[in-house]
């Protein structure tokens, strides 16, 4: 299922990107699986087609999908294994909750660590 919530601050294309990455991480999207056409997804979610195409380009640039002429976006065989990351994030979330940190503070810490 694809969801879009226009009332949140997160850009619409980024919401799509996050869902594909999560789907790949959780095994719901397998290597070789074709994503819906940008036109179909845009029509169903009442989005501009360029929003979907932008999401697919971001996913191509980070290697999550391949864009093939005539076949659309296909989940890349080299989809990164996020098992370790998922586990570490679960630990992080638990630790942050124990320390009484807000989601925002935790996100800031993660951003800082990633930029180091």
């Amino acid at each position: 299922m694809w969801r879009i919530d226009p009332t949140t601050d997160e850009p619409l294309y980024a919401q799509l990107v996050a869902q594909v990455r999560l789907g790949v991480a959780h095994g719901a999207l397998r290597p070789g699986e074709r994503l819906p056409s940008a036109r179909e997804l845009a029509a169903s979610l009442d989005l501009n087609m360029h929003t979907v195409l932008r999401a697919y380009q971001v996913l191509r640039d980070d290697g999550t999908v391949e864009l093939r002429r005539g076949r659309g976006a296909v989940v890349s065989a080299a989809a990164p294994d996020l098992t370790d990351v998922e586990r570490a994030v679960a630990d992080l979330a638990a630790a942050a909750r124990r320390a009484g940190l807000s989601t925002q503070t935790t996100t800031t810490l993660v951003t800082e660590a990633m930029n180091r």
Partner: protein, 337 residues
Amino acid sequence: MTPAPPPGSSRTAGTEAWRPRARRAMTWSSLAGLLFALAGAAVVWTWRDELPAQVASHWSGSTPDGFMAPTTLAVVGVVAAVGLCALFAAIGITQGAAAATRRITAAGCVWSGAFMATITVTTLAPQRGLVDAAQAELSGAALLATFLLPLVPAAIAAALVPGDPAMPATEAVPDDAPRAALRDGERAVWLRRATGGPGIAVGAAAVALTTLAAALTAEWTMLVVPAALAALFVTMFAFTVRVDAAGLTVRSAARWPGTHVPADEVVRASVTQVRPMRDYGGWGWRTARDGRVGVVLRSGEALLVERTGGRSFAVTVDGAADAAALLNAMADRSRRH
């Protein structure tokens, strides 16, 4: 005759509203089928002085082995057309709750008459002027015409049957139906490809066998049979299933055929287990008893949509529970306008 709905029961009235539409469609399509059959008989009548007293009516290979009087042949054609047409009309009148069912049965009525007329005319046309019907030949072109020509008026009849009018549900989706949790303003779509089952294997085998038969008999025009089968199987072995704010959309991977159930006509969506033979009488795009329509590609899990007007639609697809929950949530939303 339709029993009068009990007073105040809008639901019963809604579920019976299709009956006049079914009777209308079956009436004109039966008349059209009958006209075709009679036109075929009339053509034979105008040839009565040119035909042998006994015409060839059956061939084994290219040698005639069955003979009858031309008038008998014409009468048999009309009687067979009436019988076939009555069968289709009976199905349409008693089970035509969905427009798809009325389309198929109306096409069947017209096809019955056109087919019997064509086969009578193509059988007798080459026998005009013959003294001995044993010399009658059956050409491949005539066979081809017999298969293809009747499909044209049948397709036109199907297109002429009007679709179902919009029938928005008047009642809420039942409380016990599962619903996807959607925040206000959140948009969602569920997309999946429905495939599987014996369709590809059966299709490939049927195409191979009929091709082989055409090759062995060197009757090359009969290659139209595997070609038609291939076209049929291409449209029937994979479908895309989409649930979004508009409702449910199911479309063949070949783009046609397809159908749409608007969210406001969804009474309730659920998961069901389908046995293709027992529940729908086969695989592919099916219309079954009680006007149930289904895209049945394999046995097992299916999304079942109960629709207003006593109709229902099912499609065999993995993850049907998520699809049903989202469709119920979208049906809820459609009631809130």
